[in-house]
């Protein structure tokens, strides 16, 4: 389930997201799809998405202080941020992450 991508492959300042989800549950599936889409549009060359299925690894979610799924954590660049929900509204997600809401070409 996890997609461990070696850090070395990523350029400095790349976006690393960790998505806590419940595999197969509708909001989780949507959140993952939305996150992929956002990453591809906005930083296609410099992102990594790490997926944690809380149904498989509930203790890990607990350790990280995750309360519900889907929860997305922006691990880098600093500071770490977390957003809860299915990430359907792309503009809102970008604003919450403090990113410029530019339309992709």
């Amino acid at each position: 389930m996890n997609e461990p991508v070696p850090n070395a492959d990523l350029p400095k300042g790349a976006y690393v997201f960790r998505l806590y989800l419940a595999d197969g549950a509708p909001n989780s599936v949507r959140a993952l799809a939305n996150l992929y889409a956002i990453c591809r549009r906005h930083f296609p060359e410099s992102h990594r998405i790490e997926i944690i299925d809380v149904l498989q690894e509930p203790l890990r979610a607990l350790e990280e202080g995750i309360l519900v799924t889907p929860t997305m954590v922006k691990v880098s660049p600093e500071p770490e941020l977390q957003i809860i929900g299915n990430l359907s509204d792309e503009e809102e997600v970008l604003r919450a992450l403090g990113l410029p809401q530019r339309e992709p070409a």
Partner: protein, 432 residues
């Protein structure tokens, strides 16, 4: 997308040791996501993840609409599990079965069905569950909360499959309602009226048929006595006999309609029953002689004075005597025995050694148009009204008439009970 504008707020992670402010911010965001339907699992402090059923706005709207429909239904809608457990009850269940909101849930519906109706109910229920039929309707009694059974009609349909199969049972009251009951009453009334009309018609017809016979009978009688027609006398005798029979039959019909309508008006007086027996015997003498029968009188009652209507009492006796003659073999004998019972009333028994009465037929002997064991078959030159009229007239005089027989071929006894004449009885207004 229904996600609100303020749906997403990014909250700093703040490392493993979260401050209270951050914790609250996380919790608030989680709640916000939860309330907008964007959460599908919750991680609890015991380290377990719990999947939530998603309830998107559209689904919630549909659900609300469905609930409104279900709640406004007059029928009680139940969802019942395979083993009979009630999983859901609609609002109308309170009205129909007395179970207030939710109080039927988790109870077993099968246990509320009337035991006699359970097989039919099971059959319908499992026909639906096992997919033998898509939907069925069944009528059964279900125990109301007040412990009384109510007759319901239910349609059933399957809601889900498998070992956890659920069935929707929609119950409504089978109203043997006012309208149906009124209809039944109306129908009865119509039948009664028709019967009365028939009786009236019969009475009128008998009268109309009998009236012209009187002068004809008189004329035949005159011709019969006329010496000029001695050659024709046997024919005239035959004509006279048949006319007399016809007059008698029509008289029976008239009496039948009168007795049948309880319209007999009697004027009871104190009369000697023994004397009445002898008088009737005198009238029937020719007939008895013709049948070569012997009548044995054993009139041993000490008090033979009864309260009765002279003409009607004679008619009763005459009918009983004719009946005894009719059903006895030629050359047989008939006994007429009298006695007083403990109360002083007079008992008169007409005992014959004739064809007798089969036990199963005994209760029917006093029915109109009943004769022998085949009803409404005019054998022996009558309609089979004699005993019906006799009983009606006996009762109209305060008396009783009962039939006894040891069985077919063992003769019959007709017991006439007549009330004794005393000053008290004259005061009684009940004998009309």
């Amino acid at each position: 997308m229904s996600a609100a504008v303020e749906t997403y707020s990014a909250v700093p992670r703040g490392g493993k040791e979260l401050g209270l402010g951050l914790r609250l911010a996380h919790a608030e965001n989680a709640l916000h996501a939860l309330s907008s339907g964007q959460v599908d699992a919750i991680i609890t402090p015991d380290g377990r993840a719990h999947l939530l059923r998603p309830a998107p706005e559209q689904a919630r709207q549909a659900e609300r609409r469905l609930k409104a429909i279900i709640d406004s239904a007059v029928d009680a809608i139940l969802v019942v599990g395979r083993s009979g457990g009630v999983l859901f009850q609609s609002r109308a269940t309170a009205q129909l079965l007395g179970y207030e909101a939710g109080s039927l849930v988790a109870k077993n519906l099968f246990q509320l069905v009337h035991p006699e109706d359970l097989p039919a109910f099971y059959s319908a229920f499992f026909n639906v569950i096992e997919d033998f039929r898509d939907a069925v309707t069944v009528q059964f009694r279900l125990r109301h909360r007040n412990a009384l059974y109510r007759t319901l009609e239910a349609s059933m349909g399957k809601l889900s499959e498998g070992p956890d199969a659920q069935v929707v049972v929609i119950c409504r009251d089978v109203k043997l309602g006012e309208s149906t009951r009124e209809e039944a009453a109306q129908k009865l009334l119509t039948i009664a009226e028709a019967a009365q009309t028939k009786d009236r018609f019969l009475a009128m017809l008998s009268h109309e048929l009998r009236t012209p016979l009187a002068p004809v009978l008189l004329g035949v009688q005159e011709l019969h006595e006329d010496d000029r027609f001695t050659d024709a006398r046997p024919t005239l005798t035959m004509i006279r006999r048949n006319l007399q029979l016809q007059v008698q039959l029509l008289g029976d019909l008239i009496d039948f309609t009168i007795v049948g309508q309880h319209k007999v008006r009697l004027h009871p007086e104190s009369i000697d029953a023994h004397q009445a027996v002898r008088f009737v015997l005198e009238i029937c003498r020719a007939e008895i002689a013709e049948a070569r029968m012997k009548v044995i009188l054993d009139l041993r009652a000490a008090d033979s004075t009864v309260l009765a209507s002279s003409a009607r009492l004679q008619q009763v006796m005459w009918n009983l005597l004719k009946n005894a003659v009719k059903f006895s073999p030629r050359g047989g004998s008939i006994s007429i025995v009298s006695a007083n019972d403990a109360g002083g009333d007079l008992i008169l028994e007409f005992i014959d050694g004739g064809v007798g009465i089969a036990p199963e037929f005994l209760p029917l002997v006093f029915n109109a148009f009943q004769q022998g064991e085949v009803a409404a078959r005019p054998v022996y030159g009558s309609f089979g009204l004699g005993l019906f009229i006799a009983k009606g007239l006996a009762e109209a005089q305060g008396g009783k008439l009962a039939a006894f027989s040891e069985g077919r071929g063992k003769g019959a006894t007709f017991r006439l009970t007549l009330i004794k004449a005393s000053s008290n009885d004259f005061a009684q207004p009940s004998h009309e």
